[in-house]
Symmetry: none
DNA sequence: GATGAATGAGGGTTCATTCAT
DNA sequence: GATGAATGAACCCTCATTCAT
């Protein structure tokens, strides 16, 4: 792994377990196995590091979830595809999802980062808009749908991380998806 | 107001706007109008302060939401009562709710605090159990229901804080509650 | 015991084990079982407390050692009497002797305290002068004799505190005294 | 001089004149001409600094006193050599000896430091053992001899620091050594 | 690019002392 | 006399960041 990625990895691990201010840059450098100053070659400041990491992970989540969705026709199946891919990513990378949840509303994440991340979510917003215009999704403000859907997804991932055996229980996972889909689908 | 409460108030305001480590204890003391050392007379450490504040607010939310619910019979109405009281508390104390959401998963909140707070949620868990046994709520793991319901409520409060005019739109609020209730009610 | 003495006792115990600056006045008050402010009724400052304690203990050592010496005639026996009484006081009050040794050269003990304590030692100085003029003690500067004799005594008490069984071995104690007396006696 | 040594030098000077707690680390750094943080680059804590300094000085005293002693045959001459070299070191470095005496029994010096320093004294202990077995030194517990001999030496240095002109009075110095040697030599 | 010694501002916390009760 | 809440100056130490190598 190159040094930049080693730094990302160390930062992810330490920020989630010790918090932003509980993690000295020296500890990140040590864990990453690089010199103290090296960190500042790749990231101008500690804040730049956490913001870059945040964007990187959000992107990763979306990119991995979205890959292949265009081949599916039905809206419900598209949503199920995205939902299960997102869940899969979380189960494979629990620390990453935990990081996202933890820093989502933190003051370390700048508004410019928020804006950049907001662009990524367009993929989902378009899908919802489409669903509403086709009458498959409730005609409720898109922001609200988006917020509630993501919160719901986060809730589910939290539950699965605490009860990982359920992840392989396909009956449960089916119920779980419906718990998600029922909120937004038009009756 | 006594000095302890003044410190709580200042801490709430500063922690939500500047973050935990962005808030020097000196700033809290100054805002509270007390001497620096006084803060440490009431709270052994800065971490003890944020944990105490967290417990206090969680308690306040539950106590104020629950007050009066015992007079209601129907489960759905009970839930609506709790839901709207919770929303009401949030709209009246947006900073407090924001604080709770922001620090919920932060490493500053110790596991012993989490345990103490978990006791409070028993009120809700009992209600859900009851609903399940009466066949009014989906027979899904209680933990899951609880997580998803609270996440959903948080999502809604976020939306309302950003769009406060909707709070007085009773049609919207009705839809909103159903968005919540539909997830958990047995079909 | 009255409060002043309780404070002295607590201070002695804490100053020897934790040091002057390692002992908050609050800890002294707590150990003494009095209120924080009470300490400052009896001693204007923390420094006044340690100085008073030092003087008190030095006095106690001399007073208890000297009591009865006037009835003895021979110089050697007078010295043996003082020596064994001093050793006895140390074995009975090891903490007190340890305190004296520890703070003897510390900057917390003011020069005015040193002067006051120096007056006490006149008893011994007179004895030495007398011995020199009678040709029983080496004709060496009195200051030197005094310093060396006390250091030697301190050395012996240290050894006895570490090997308390020797204290009851009268043969050893006899040798020990001669180790002391041989230095100063004229050959 | 390198920065570490500058810090040692400043610490020695300030600790002896102002005491441990009377010396802020900031004052040490300023006197040493380095930045505040630099001190903590070399010594994790203020306590580590004083302990390192203590060990360093004790070592220095022994190393400088012992150098050359192996070329001497007679026990008495060996002792005289060590004694006068120790006195010489003290007269050349009075602050250093004062520091050692002042902190010897202080609670800042940890027991692990004491243990490390105790190893150094083996050189002297071997000499004493040897002397006892050859019948030249009194057959008294070695610990006792060691304690008393060092206390006596300390006493002498104290006297000489207060009366430095005596240091060049060879008759006095001769008497002084005998005052030391008489205690331990077998009659 | 990589290093790590050096920096110094900043912050949490302590604690001797005061004073109203 | 006795209390203990309140004070705020002072201090140890941390740590993001720089820069000469």
């Amino acid at each position: 792994m190159n040094k930049e990625d080693k730094i990302y990895e160390a930062a992810l691990s330490l920020f989630t377990t010790k918090g932003f201010h509980g993690t000295p840059t020296s500890a990140i450098a040590k864990t990453a196995g690089v010199a103290n100053g090296t960190l500042f070659h790749y990231f101008k400041t500690k804040e730049e590091l956490i913001n870059s990491l945040y964007i990187k992970l959000k992107n990763e989540l979306v990119v991995e979830s979205v890959d292949g969705v265009e081949k599916i026709d039905s809206l419900k199946l598209k949503l199920e595809f995205l939902w299960s891919k997102s869940i899969h990513w979380t189960m494979t990378n629990p620390k990453k999802m935990f990081f996202i949840q933890q820093y989502m509303y933190s003051p370390y994440i700048t508004s410019s980062t928020q804006e950049e991340v907001d662009k990524i979510k367009e993929v989902y917003v378009d899908l919802i808009k489409n669903g509403i215009s086709k009458g498959e999704i409730k005609d409720v403000p898109i922001d609200l749908i988006y917020i509630i859907a993501s919160q719901q997804l986060f809730g589910m991932t939290q539950y699965l991380v605490m009860n990982p055996e359920k992840y392989h229980d396909s009956e449960f996972m089916n119920t779980a998806f419906n718990l998600f889909y029922d909120i937004i689908k038009k009756v």
